[in-house]
Symmetry: C2
Subunit: 256 residues, 2 copies
């Protein structure tokens, strides 16, 4: 994980980025020795870099003395294009759907062979799901993922279809069956999953398009049962997807 | 803004952090020359650092060639303690209140002389507000801020009371009147504002306490009118605040 392909050389800049690289969702809190080992740099160097990162606020120290990502990087991360554009426009629409259905609602974009979840709305009445903001999940086992995969370039589809692994006993791992499903997603205008990512959770998702009708994201809803209110759910998602498209158009000064 | 007090010396680490420091909510998208000028480093140095940051994904380039904060820093920022602890626990409670009231709901913590908004839930039916995730607003002109200020150390209260500036014509700028309000917040268990931050918006807020009854955050709701349903709003907020406290206790292995 640490110091992998993206490490930009052995410069000081490279080492400071290698230190930050040691933090991920399974390593949120680390001791100095862990950081040095995982970044593959000597302990005194790690100590010096961590001290600079602490002073700046990129890292913070917990009560136990372990290092964690600090408030300053959280502030900076919120400025990222991925956070400010589509996500901010979509947010109130997600809340509207949630208030109407109490289902978990989320929006995801294509990120290599994964669906990257930009935002998620869930209350205590919602079905528990694995996705969270920033989570990446397979394209073939999620509703939003199937929408994104159906509209993805052929090369990506082939790459994903060549490597289908069961997440649950219900995950579709037959390439020909999944290919049929993707064709249906294009034809019907929505995708669905039945306990293919999480047991007890089903999902419905629709594409979000931009002014040139390119699919730029997928809007999905997770419920315990698909049969009840399926058409109403699809309708709510499609109305919201249209609303997001119009908000993007009016923000960019265009008119529908 | 750039290269201010927190700049950790003129080391390479310091310069790379100074580059990141040039990005803020008013400078989300910058050209290389802007970055070099605002970071106070020579253009060739800025070019080299920006190249490393681009390669790693800390920065990204927009279609127009300007630099923006990249997806990798967004990923890292989501790992911050400020994002993973209280915010994750509080999130479903915020959605529950929103679904019940359709009011804008938010949670904030003390950050120096400001209230830092950790999360916010708002739909299209909500009153427009200025707060967003990561926003910092004055303690004396917001509902959540008054709760935090009422429970803050005396030194901070004195500092804030010595520097009251009107945000709207209704902002309380009399130290003695504000002192009276803070005493009432402690006595009544909630704070309120009437168009003191934004015209047309009123707010109600209650404290969130931890296992030792320390106030660690404030939970607030923004509505167009306080008179209607005020007691019901306070009740909903207090139930949620208790729920957040219990969730934190059970996560940390304690029992109420």
């Amino acid at each position: 994980m640490a110091g992998n392909t993206s490490k930009p050389g052995a410069s000081v800049a490279g080492r400071i980025l290698a230190v930050l690289d040691t933090f991920d969702s399974r390593h949120r809190s680390q001791r100095l020795s862990d950081i040095a080992r995982r970044a593959d740099i000597p302990l005194p160097t790690a100590h010096r870099l961590v001290r600079d990162l602490l002073a700046w606020g990129a890292l913070t120290r917990s009560d136990s003395g372990a290092y964690q990502i600090g408030r300053r990087l959280w502030d900076l991360g919120l400025l990222a294009a991925v956070n400010t554009g589509l996500r901010e426009i979509a947010e109130p629409f997600l809340h509207d759907i949630y208030a109407a259905t109490l289902a978990t609602v989320h929006i995801a974009v294509l990120d290599g062979p994964n669906a990257l979840y930009l935002d998620r709305v869930a209350g205590h009445a919602s079905v528990p799901v694995v996705s969270n903001v920033g989570t990446r999940l397979p394209l073939y086992s999620t509703g939003v993922g199937k929408v994104l995969l159906a509209h993805a370039p052929l090369e990506l589809q082939q790459m994903v279809l060549a490597d289908l692994k069961p997440v649950t006993p219900y995950t579709v791992v037959s390439p020909s069956r999944l290919r049929g499903e993707l064709a249906r997603v294009i034809h019907d205008g929505y995708a669905q999953t039945n306990e293919e990512m999480t047991l007890g959770a089903c999902s419905i998702a629709v594409p979000v398009r931009d002014h040139s009708d390119q699919v730029i994201a997928a809007l999905g809803m997770v419920t315990a049962n698909l049969r009840r209110d399926k058409q109403a759910s699809i309708g709510a998602l499609q109305v919201a997807a249209q609303g997001i498209r119009r908000s993007m158009l009016s923000l960019s000064g265009r008119r529908t």
